[in-house]
Amino acid sequence: MKAFAREQIAGWLGRPVSQLVCETLLAPTKFSAVRISKRTALALGLLALLSAPLRAEDDAERATRWKDLSQAIFGDRQLLDGAGVMSLEAPARAMDASLVPITIGLSGAEKVKALYVVVDGNPSPLAGTFRFGPLADPRTLKTRVRVEQYTLMHAVAETEDGRLFATERFVKAAGGCSAPSAKDAAAAMARLGQMRMRVDGTPEPGQPATAHLLISHPNNTGMAMDQVTRHFVPARYIQDIKVTQGDAVVFELDADISLSEDPAITFGFIPQGAAPLQVVVEDSARAVFRQSFPITGQGS
């Protein structure tokens, strides 16, 4: 899926991912309004979900962008209205475009095995794919993403029986990918791969618990251009995060450059005994970081 995310989408747009940002910014997709009228009821259904009224031309462009994106990611599979199944929360206007907190809630009405987070207007739109294991409690999931331009953001839940539910939000933020925060880059690299985890309360075996994982990683987008060499600063980003307890998986995340610097994930899990949670992170430079965290005795 990861290879699909970067290469398929880049291929679909016909350009390397690393070049997309400038072109996306300079030449926003120009789809005619006529085209939207030919679209299936799906796009119209999604439009109806919009939380805030937008300018008409933007509505059409954004709906078309999502239509094309969802086609690239999910093919011809039908996307059902996620109302009642899931929610997606994000600030209407982000404080910091490179760190936009999002919360995805699942009502439990459907048994969900995977969750896709898509930031439509980003150069690499599929921000992450969460695959839940047997120890997951996927009702609440939080993370932080970069947002490159005013955009729709989608969460798509895939149920055990293979149906897809989608919900969306409009977020006003810009520059989260192409203007990397370069604060003390040396210090950031010095703690590369360090992790922190906090578990709420005192988890009981078999009872849902919540954990907050923080990973120190610049998650470079590779999109800031060196004006002297005209080369892009090389991308280095987290590709895979896997959380397990014992041999059982809590979740696995196929990630991408749209996660914010120092990725943070709040997730639910059902502890099985008192074994520590194991986290394995692999980045695009093939560096692997492992750490294990006791789930008791943290008392927060």
Partner: protein, 312 residues
């Protein structure tokens, strides 16, 4: 001193020399008010607004210091328009050559007027990290300005070649300025300039007065640098935003209180396990009403502080 204040223009008018050109100059001087905060130190106070077409991104305090043989510009302005106006204003004050252009840090409202001074062939002065930051963010800033002003008027930043490590002296003839590079504070490339002759400490965005401080570096580092700077004896400081000059170190108090309130509030939020959104809503809310543009920047500053302090 070769000064040309409004008074001189008025005398010219009385002499019947007030032609169209002089009138235009006067109008332009009114649009670009310079305050001489100490002999030879001229500051244009910025307006407390976001960048708009009307204000030409003239939102920061910028200006210049005149010596016997040359001039040092300290922050060339927020856009090509702002920089051109500063250069015109400078020429109304002195014919001496612009030897140096100091780039106090890499934020667009302070440096995109640099291109306007290129014809003077000055030495551009910047923090040793400024070049890297410009590489990483310069084009992004340019595009954002171009969205408002068009690419022609957006202006241009300049790569500094004199990089104080950590200090450098700028000789203006009978007046030597001390430029200091700071550890990460407001940003990771902040400079301050001291004019020992008048006891003027030009702090640029290391000091915000009235306008809420915006954090783009390290909140703990900023508090450390502020405390160190407060020990520097000076008659006055020039803040990056606020009045043209303020009493030093008294004027540091409000900013220190604000930054400490954010640190204390974010630490408490982290101890409680509050997420970023909750911290943004709750931290240092007592500071609202004490600062201009609070609602535009405070949430961002809390977010940045949270991101920094969650690794403590």
């Amino acid at each position: 001193m070769d000064r040309a204040g409004p008074g001189r223009l008025t005398r010219r008018g009385a002499l019947g020399l007030l032609g169209a050109a002089a009138f235009a100059r006067q109008a332009s001087a009114a649009l670009f008010p310079l305050v001489e905060v100490a002999p030879g130190i001229h500051v244009r106070p910025g307006v407390h607004e976001e960048a708009t077409v009307a204000n030409a991104d003239g939102i920061a305090n910028i200006g210049f210091i005149v010596g016997r043989t040359g001039v040092a510009v300290i922050d060339p302005g927020g856009s090509g328009i702002d920089g051109t106006r500063l250069r015109e204003a400078l020429r109304r004050v002195t014919p001496r050559p612009v030897r140096y252009v100091v780039l106090s840090h890499v934020h667009p409202d302070h440096i995109f007027g640099a291109g306007a001074f290129a014809p003077d062939g000055p030495v551009f002065v910047g923090h040793p990290r400024a070049r890297d930051v410009m590489v990483q963010r310069g084009e992004f800033f340019r595009n954002r300005l171009a969205d408002i002003y068009g690419i022609e008027d957006a202006g241009d930043y300049a790569m500094p070649t004199l990089l104080p490590e950590p200090t450098a002296e700028l000789d203006l003839g009978g007046r030597t300025l001390l430029v200091r590079s700071h550890a990460t504070a407001h940003t990771d490339a902040d400079l301050s300039v001291l004019d020992p002759q008048t006891g003027t400490l030009w702090l640029s965005d290391l000091l915000f007065v009235n306008r809420v401080p915006a954090l783009d570096g390290s909140i703990l580092g900023w508090l450390r640098e502020l405390d160190a700077l407060a020990l520097q004896p000076a008659a006055r400081a020039v803040p990056g935003h606020g009045p043209a000059a303020v009493a030093w170190p008294e004027a540091a108090g409000a900013q220190r209180r604000y930054l400490q309130a954010v640190v204390d509030g974010v630490r408490a939020a982290l101890r409680r396990g509050d997420d970023i959104e909750t911290a943004v809503r709750t931290v240092a809310q007592e500071e609202r009403g004490r600062w201009l543009l609070f609602d535009d920047y405070h949430g961002r500053t809390v977010t940045a502080a949270y991101k920094e302090l969650e690794w403590e």
